[in-house]
Structure formats: structure tokens, C-alpha cells
């Protein structure tokens, strides 16, 4: 096995002597003998580096890779976008990777400035004024958005669109067991949310575009929220910001989302990036870390984590959130990716997703028996109903080298399949996929 412990036997002896002990076991005298493990851990002894890597490669080989082995038409909150070499090489420099949370700003300006830029970029995309330095994922960002709205309004019911990613809704449900929030799920009609009149909702939570890819009517949601005195919380797809009006323009109070599309590979679902942005009024309730600009003792522009009295280490049981470790590195990668895309690149990326989606949707719908699940306009994701069970189609078409999408649960109707098309999909891939689709449903 490799040893990452540098101590030689001679050094151990010297150190033990210095602390007045005669064996390593004596270090653990404080552990009651009855609790000590007699025969060590019941796991395998260590492996050498090449042996370890061989085990890991063996496992990796048992997955079908998106791209080379499985052309990916699945989305649903995890998208197969290009990650350019620049992002991979620069964002994962070891200074960013092996740093701790920037507690000593004098030697952490690198991470702090990158986060400040990330915050700015995300605000520009969402049309908000404040962004935190990341949460865990799309789901946790939704949870925190609801927590904020509940704390701010003193109400505890939330109108939850069925168009919100079902996994995220599940997480909201799990956490509600603690917080006691109540969710009133509002159904979709023709792909768009129908808000249910509830006496006093704290907030409306809507996804834009929603889980079925449809462009929700945010203006209507805002109006509804205003009437109810509720917050409008929008879970948005940051790629869509390349062509869609920002939730901020529609008057959202809090805009959250999943930042994975910018610089993070599919990664079997994590680590991803919880995006959280809001209006400036809400800054005292902001969960997690916030970086602000300031100056140093010599008057030089500097960055530091600020308004820390919201945070758990200072405010403890009264903190606005329990978040400590977040997803900083993924936020840095997101900032690098956005810098690389640039203004026109982001627009083009979004446009290319929309074009591929249109092309694939039209082609699929030309197959007999494949029907649109809903008719509302979509952006880069769409739902169809299939003549066979989607699970079966997915299984069969995998043999042809495609990941056909994600089966929709019964809440969206029968035999629903959700597909997504990113800028990576070529016309040839789409054509061949559609041909294979036609074949397997026969």
C-alpha cells in the first residue's frame, strides 16, 4: 500500500519519547479498553496505487459512458454539455482544489475573487442582486428558497408547481418533516402550472423552463403571488438565460437553480452546484456564504466573506441555514465556463440547445404513435408519450447506443418520456436515434 503518512520508525520513536510515551497504542489510553477494536478494521488491507486504480477502472468500465458509448438524450436536471479544456485545466488547479474555505482572506484572494465574480455572473443571468457562494444542488437551493420565504413571511404553506423537478420536490418533502412547511402541489394544465387558491401562501415555487421543458408564464405567477402577498420563487435553467428573459425581469424574489450545465460533467449526479440568488432586501436571510469587496490595510481592492453573522458558526441555532461546506470549486468552474462562453457564446449555446430540441422533437413526433405529452412551447427539453413503456424503450435503445431520456412518473400521465437535446448533439446523431427509436417501438 502507498503510505501518505510520512513518519519513519525512527521519527515515531523520537516523537513518542518527546511526549513521554513508549508506544503508539498508548496514544489511545483515553479510549476505554472495552471500546478498543481488538483486531483492527474489518476491511481489506491497503492496495498500492496501481492496484487501487485498477479496481476503480474495473468499476468505471461497468458503466456505459455518455457520449462515446451512449449518445445522451437525457436531461431532467443533469445535462450533457461540452466542458472545454480551458475549464478542466484552469478551474481544477490544485490551489483551488486543495484550499479550505477562505477564512484567512490575505491568502485566499484567489478563491474569494473567483467567487465574487461567480456571484456577479449569476446575478447577471438571473436578474437578481445577491448571489451566495453556492449551495449543494438544485434541490437544496429550492429548500433554502422556501426557508427564506417562510421566515420572511411568517407563513408556512408553499404552492409548489408540479412542473418543478420531481426529485427536488421529494427533497422539499423530506425536509418539510423537520421544518413543518406545507406544500400544496399545483397541477399542470397543457404543460403550465395552474396556481391553486390557498388562503395565505408564503410563496409560489415554479420552474422555468419547467420539468417538461415548457416555458411557464412567470408574469401570471408574479401577479398571482402579488395578490396572495406571497414570494415568487423561481427555479431556473441557467443555460436558458442565453435566450430567455431572466426571472428577475419577471419580478421573482428568489431565483435558484442547478448550475451543473456550466462546467460540470454529468458525474452521476454530483457534485453539482446549487445556485441561489435573490433581491438585495433579503440579504440578511441569505443562506450560506457571501463574498464582498473591500480594501486591505494599504487600500488595495480585496475580497472577504461578509455578513457572517447569518452563518451557523456565529449564530448557531438562530442561523439562517446550516450550510457550511458548500460547492465552491464547482462555482469556480462555473465562473470559468461562463467567462469562456462569454456574452455571445452563452447566447449561441442556448440557441443551439433550442435548435436541437426543435429538430429532435419534430423528428420524433413524426413517428407513428409518438405524441406530444403537452403542447406548450419548450426550450431545450420536451416530453412525449410513447406507444410502449418508456422503460422498455430506454432499455432496448441502449443496445443501439442511445440513452433515450427519462421515464416520466404517472403524475404526468401514462407512458411519458422526457428528452433533452444539448449543443453536443449532431443532426446525424438525432437522425440515427430517431431511426433506432422507430425500430425499437415496432
Amino acid at each position: 500500500m502507498p503510505s501518505y503518512v510520512p513518519h519513519t520508525d525512527a521519527e515515531i520513536a523520537e516523537m513518542l519519547a518527546f511526549v513521554g510515551l513508549s508506544s503508539l497504542d498508548e496514544l489511545f489510553e483515553a479510549v476505554p479498553p472495552a471500546l478498543r477494536l481488538a483486531r483492527g478494521l474489518d476491511i481489506a488491507p491497503g492496495l498500492s496505487e496501481p492496484d487501487t486504480l485498477a479496481v476503480m477502472e474495473g468499476l468505471a468500465d461497468r458503466n456505459r459512458r455518455a457520449g462515446r458509448e451512449l449518445v445522451c438524450f437525457a436531461g431532467g436536471g443533469a445535462y450533457d454539455h461540452e466542458v472545454p479544456a480551458t475549464v478542466r485545466r484552469v478551474a481544477f488547479r490544485s490551489e483551488f482544489v486543495t484550499a479550505y474555505t477562505p477564512y484567512q482572506p490575505e491568502v485566499a484572494q484567489g478563491v474569494l475573487q473567483a467567487l465574487f465574480e461567480y456571484q456577479t455572473l449569476l446575478c447577471r443571468l438571473t436578474g437578481m442582486e445577491i448571489a451566495n457562494a453556492s449551495l449543494y444542488d438544485g434541490a437544496s437551493a429550492c429548500v433554502e428558497a422556501v426557508n427564506l420565504a417562510v421566515a420572511a413571511t411568517g407563513r408556512h404553506t408553499v404552492l409548489l408547481s408540479r412542473g418543478v423537478n420531481p426529485n427536488w420536490r421529494q427533497v422539499l418533502g423530506t425536509y418539510a418533516a423537520g421544518t413543518g412547511h406545507e406544500y400544496v402541489t399545483c397541477d399542470l394544465s397543457g404543460g403550465l402550472t395552474e396556481w391553486r387558491d390557498d388562503a395565505e401562501p408564503a410563496a409560489l415555487l415554479v420552474q422555468y423552463p419547467n420539468y417538461l421543458g415548457c416555458l411557464e408564464d412567470l408574469a401570471a405567477a408574479r401577479a398571482f403571488a402579488d395578490r396572495a402577498g406571497a414570494y415568487l420563487l423561481v427555479a431556473f435553467d441557467p443555460v436558458a438565460a442565453g435566450v430567455l428573459r431572466s426571472p428577475g425581469e419577471f419580478g421573482a424574489d428568489v431565483v435558484v437553480g442547478e448550475g451543473q450545465p456550466f462546467g460540470t460533467p454529468l458525474s452521476f449526479g454530483g457534485p453539482y452546484l446549487g445556485v441561489f440568488t435573490c433581491k438585495r432586501d433579503h440579504v440578511r436571510r441569505l443562506p450560506g456564504r457571501l463574498v464582498g469587496e473591500t480594501v486591505d490595510a494599504d487600500g488595495r481592492r480585496s475580497y472577504v466573506t461578509t455578513l457572517r453573522t447569518r452563518e451557523q458558526d456565529i449564530r448557531r441555532e438562530k442561523a439562517s441555514s446550516n450550510v457550511c461546506t458548500n460547492q465552491t470549486l464547482i462555482a469556480v468552474a462555473c465562473a470559468v465556463q461562463l467567462a469562456w462562453l462569454g456574452t455571445s457564446g452563452l447566447h449561441e449555446l442556448a440557441l443551439r440547445c433550442a435548435r436541437g430540441t426543435r429538430y429532435a422533437r419534430d423528428a420524433l413526433l413524426s413517428i407513428d404513435g409518438v405524441e406530444p405529452l403537452v403542447d406548450a412551447p419548450v426550450f431545450r427539453e420536451f416530453a412525449v408519450t410513447t406507444p410502449a413503456a418508456p422503460e422498455v424503450i430506454i432499455e432496448r435503445i441502449a443496445e443501439e447506443g442511445y440513452l433515450a431520456g427519462i421515464p416520466l412518473s404517472a403524475e404526468y400521465g401514462e407512458r411519458g418520456l422526457l428528452l433533452s437535446v444539448t449543443e453536443r448533439r449532431t443532426r446525424d446523431e438525432i437522425d440515427a436515434f430517431v431511426a433506432a427509436f422507430e425500430k425499437v417501438i415496432r
Partner: protein
């Protein structure tokens, strides 16, 4: 419009000078761009044809407009303004900033792991399911627990998951309870999670040994106590010797024991939370199992539980069938999902590689060396700093400048800043809250005796040094002491918020 700044000027790189690095937005020049896209052959519909006008943006979202060269220059220079484990020691107490083996970077970068969609059916992702199932198993064996969930993406998320498990348990066993006990030395996430779990925090004081005051604990235990959250060794680096007694007392009133695994590094292969009587354990893989901290994250905070709590774990979980195939399964009484997908999968893969490489022998070695290092350094600092709890510690210990402050005004903060000039990251300061002017020092096992000696010498120099010197430190860093008060007073949270 401001003229764009020079992307190829390196005065902000500490090798060249001490200027501020321009903001990304200052480097932007209209019309510049790095991005290029795959040729797809997809028809080039215009945005008007694709997006209804009500939804269409009138102007592209302003990002920044840079060449690839300037993007790379900017972030490379920023990386040179950032301290990291790879540059030197990071003795932050409670944080276990050990060296992150490069092997694990490679393991987590395997395309067969990175390029897998989380919603792909189990049949196409057997490698991932097996990896996760195996990791659950080894984590259970390391902690002495029965079953685990890998979903929580960080320690705090693990805590909340654990508290929700507590709720679920009590809900089915005698009804809900109101309170959760935590020691006064606990990490801030503990009480914050308790609140989110809809419990009330009851604090139990530490005694003069620095351990949970068992008598005081007994006074607080009643039928309203859902459980207790402890870390052992505790945040002072001391092993809670009375843990068996504590466990019995809590169990007696029907409470559960929650183990905050942030300090697991100290006891790997020595003892196990399960053996101590804990019911729920979270682990910080970004501490004990060398997942790099990433400047603040991502980490991973799996939760392992005893048999009676297993049915409540979040799902889906990977399980293996008789045919050797893996599938997803929800535990029968699952509290539900706590992550969008399956947790921070690549961080989990790193940790698994780390555990494989170290194995039973290596992990025990980790604990031994971590504890030896901390004890050596405490002995080295005896007589130099106050040691409020000068007794054999585990992987970390707490020193204090109380006397030095009285004597000449040297505060923990000054020590922290001066230490930067000496080539070391500062320890954790002013935590735990129960120690005045606390310096919480955790050397970790990957630092050598020579590094400890240099650190000890530096800390001694600082204690004996000129107070003015300390007050003006650091002087060698890219920026000097940063005005934190101003940052809060005149909040500038984005580039666009500058006047």
C-alpha cells in the same frame, strides 16, 4: 464605458508584484470571445422562430467578453493568490486539512465515472451502483454501523438527515420529542441543524476536563430529549472517556445518540462510534477520507445508522440481488430523498479510492500519526502558549493566548496573521467558543515531524516576538489585513453593485 484592462499583465501574480487582479469584467472587450461549438448540421433556426416573444430576452445576458488567453491568465493569476494544502501545511482545527493523494484525483476523473447520467437505468450503471454499495459497506465497517446513505452532500446535510431520522424513529416509537442536547463546545452546524430538524437545542456544559459534564447531562435528560449530538473526540480534541455512561444515560430516557463524524480521523481503526453506543453517524469524507476541500466544497457527508434505524434511511439506495446485479431500492420507511440525485458521487469515488489504498492497516496508521502529531505539537508549545486542557489529546488540541494577551496584547487573531508570514496557514481561531482566545490546532497525519518542528518554532517566535510586528502582520501576502467591517457596512456583493 471603461477601457478594458490588460489580460496579459501579471503584476497581480505574487511572483511579479502586489497589484490587485482586475475583475473579469474589467478584462472584457466587446466582441471578444473564446467559445466555439461543435458542428452539428442541425438547421439554424433563428431565436425568433424558437422562442415566443414574451419569453425572449431583448439583449444577450451580459457575461464578459474575453479571449481564451485572458480567461486562462486571469484564473491562473488568481490561483497564485490562493494558499492551499499543496503549497504548505494547513493546521486548521476541526477541518482535517490533510494531503489529498493525487491518485484519488485520477480515480475520480475516469471517464467511466464522470460521463454517466444519474438517471440512466441501473443496468447501464452497474459500476457506479457497485461502487456506492461497496462504499456504504466499508463506511459501516469503519464506524461500526449497520447501513448507510451516501446522499448527504456535506456534514451539515448529514446532520439534518440524522435529525430527520431521529424524528422518523420517535414518530413510530412513543411519539415526537422536543429537545436535542449538544455540548457547549459543539460546531455551529449542530445547533443550526437542530433548529432545521424542528428541535430545540439544549446545551450541556463541559467540565474542567473539557469533557461533557455527565452530571449536568443527567439533569437535562428526560422524556422530551430526542437525542444527543456529540463528536468524539470532541472539538477540544479530547476523547469523551465517559461515552459508555453517556450512551447508557441517553438510551435510558429513550434518546438516540448522534455522532458528528468530523473528528473520525482520530479513531480510525482504534474504536468505532457503533461500539460506543451511537445510533447515527455522519462522516465528513472531505476531512477523514481526503476529499479535497475545494476552497469551501464540495464534500460529502454520508450517514450510517444502527440496524433499527436502517429502514428509515433516505433512498433510493444501491442493493445487490442474488444474480449479482445491482438495483436501486427505497428503504421501507424511508424519510425520502435528501439530494437531487445520489449525493456528491465523484467525491464519493475519491473517498472510496482513498479507503482502498489505505485499507485497514493504513487507516489505523492515519489515526496514530494524526494523534501523535497533535500530541507532539502540544508538548512542543507547553510554556509557550496557554494550554487550557493540557492532557493527552487526540488529533487536535486547543491553545490560547489569554496570558500573552494580558502580558502584551497578543490576540489569537494576531498569531493567525503572523503565522501566514511564517509560511503556514493559521489554525482555527476563536473556536470552540468555550475557550478564550482559542487557537485550535490540527496538524493532521500527513505533515512530517520536520514540518511540526518548523511550525512549533514559528509559533514560539510569534509568542516571543514584538507585538507591533504581530499587529501589522501579514506583510508578505498578496494583500494585507482586510477590512472586514467595511465589507459588511458598505456591502458590495457583486461587481455591478459598486458605485
Amino acid at each position: 464605458m471603461m477601457p478594458a484592462a490588460a489580460g496579459g499583465k501579471a503584476t497581480s501574480a505574487p511572483i511579479m508584484g502586489r497589484d490587485a487582479e482586475p475583475a473579469l469584467f474589467e478584462l472584457s472587450s466587446p466582441g471578444r470571445r473564446a467559445a466555439s461549438f461543435r458542428t452539428t448540421g442541425v438547421p439554424e433556426w433563428s431565436v425568433d422562430e424558437l422562442v415566443p416573444v414574451d419569453h425572449r430576452r431583448s439583449q444577450p445576458a451580459p457575461i464578459a467578453e474575453l479571449s481564451e488567453r485572458d480567461v486562462v491568465g486571469h484564473f491562473t493569476r488568481l490561483s497564485h493568490r490562493q494558499y492551499s494544502v499543496d503549497l504548505g501545511a494547513y493546521p486548521l482545527g476541526s477541518c482535517t486539512m490533510k494531503y489529498n493523494p493525487k491518485l484519488c484525483d485520477d480515480a475520480a476523473a475516469l471517464p467511466g465515472l464522470t460521463d454517466v447520467h444519474p438517471a440512466a437505468p441501473a443496468a447501464l450503471t452497474q459500476g457506479w451502483l457497485e461502487l456506492l454499495a461497496r462504499l456504504e459497506q466499508v463506511l459501516c465497517r469503519i464506524t461500526g454501523m449497520h447501513a448507510a446513505t451516501l446522499q448527504p452532500p456535506a456534514g451539515a446535510a448529514g446532520e439534518l438527515t440524522g435529525l430527520l431520522l431521529m424524528r422518523a424513529w420517535h414518530g413510530e416509537h412513543g411519539g415526537q420529542r422536543r429537545k436535542v442536547v449538544i455540548p457547549d463546545s459543539a460546531h455551529g452546524t449542530n445547533p443550526a441543524s437542530v433548529t432545521l430538524g424542528a428541535y430545540e437545542t439544549v446545551t450541556v456544559p463541559s467540565d474542567e476536563r473539557g469533557l461533557v459534564d455527565v452530571a449536568a447531562l443527567r439533569e437535562r435528560l428526560d422524556e422530551e430529549v430526542a437525542g444527543i449530538m456529540l463528536t468524539n473526540p470532541n472539538t477540544l480534541g479530547l476523547f469523551e472517556e465517559d461515552i459508555a455512561e453517556i450512551a447508557a444515560a441517553v438510551h435510558e430516557v429513550g434518546g438516540l445518540l448522534y455522532y458528528d463524524g468530523a473528528n473520525l480521523n482520530a479513531i480510525l481503526g482504534v474504536t468505532r462510534p457503533g461500539d460506543m453506543g451511537f445510533d447515527i453517524v455522519h462522516m465528513n469524507l472531505h476531512k477523514t477520507f481526503a476529499v479535497p476541500h475545494g476552497g469551501g466544497g464540495p464534500g460529502a457527508g454520508p450517514v450510517a445508522v444502527s440496524q433499527r434505524l436502517a429502514p428509515y434511511l433516505p433512498g433510493p439506495r444501491p442493493v445487490v440481488g442474488d444474480d449479482g446485479n445491482y438495483r436501486w431500492e427505497d428503504p421501507p420507511k424511508s424519510i425520502g430523498r435528501v439530494h437531487s440525485w445520489h449525493g456528491n458521487a465523484l467525491a464519493l469515488a475519491r473517498a472510496y479510492a482513498y479507503i482502498l489504498a489505505n485499507g485497514s492497516d493504513g487507516l489505523r496508521r492515519v489515526a496514530e500519526a494524526a494523534v501523535l502529531n497533535a500530541n507532539w505539537l502540544r508538548a512542543r508549545l507547553r510554556g509557550v502558549y496557554d494550554l487550557p486542557y493540557d492532557r493527552p489529546n487526540m488529533h487536535e488540541f486547543v491553545a490560547s493566548t489569554t496570558s500573552l494577551k494580558k502580558e502584551k496584547g497578543l490576540r489569537a487573531l494576531d498569531v493567525a496573521k503572523r503565522l501566514l508570514e511564517e509560511g503556514f496557514h493559521a489554525p482555527t481561531v476563536y473556536f470552540p467558543l468555550i475557550v478564550d482566545e482559542a487557537l485550535m490546532i490540527e496538524p493532521t497525519e500527513t505533515e512530517s515531524l520536520q514540518t511540526l518542528e518548523a511550525l512549533g518554532d514559528a509559533l514560539e517566535r510569534i509568542a516571543g516576538g514584538d507585538i507591533d510586528d504581530a499587529r501589522h502582520a501579514p506583510r508578505t501576502t498578496p494583500v494585507r489585513r482586510v477590512d472586514e467591517a467595511r465589507a459588511a457596512r458598505q456591502l458590495i456583493p457583486t461587481w455591478d453593485a459598486r458605485e
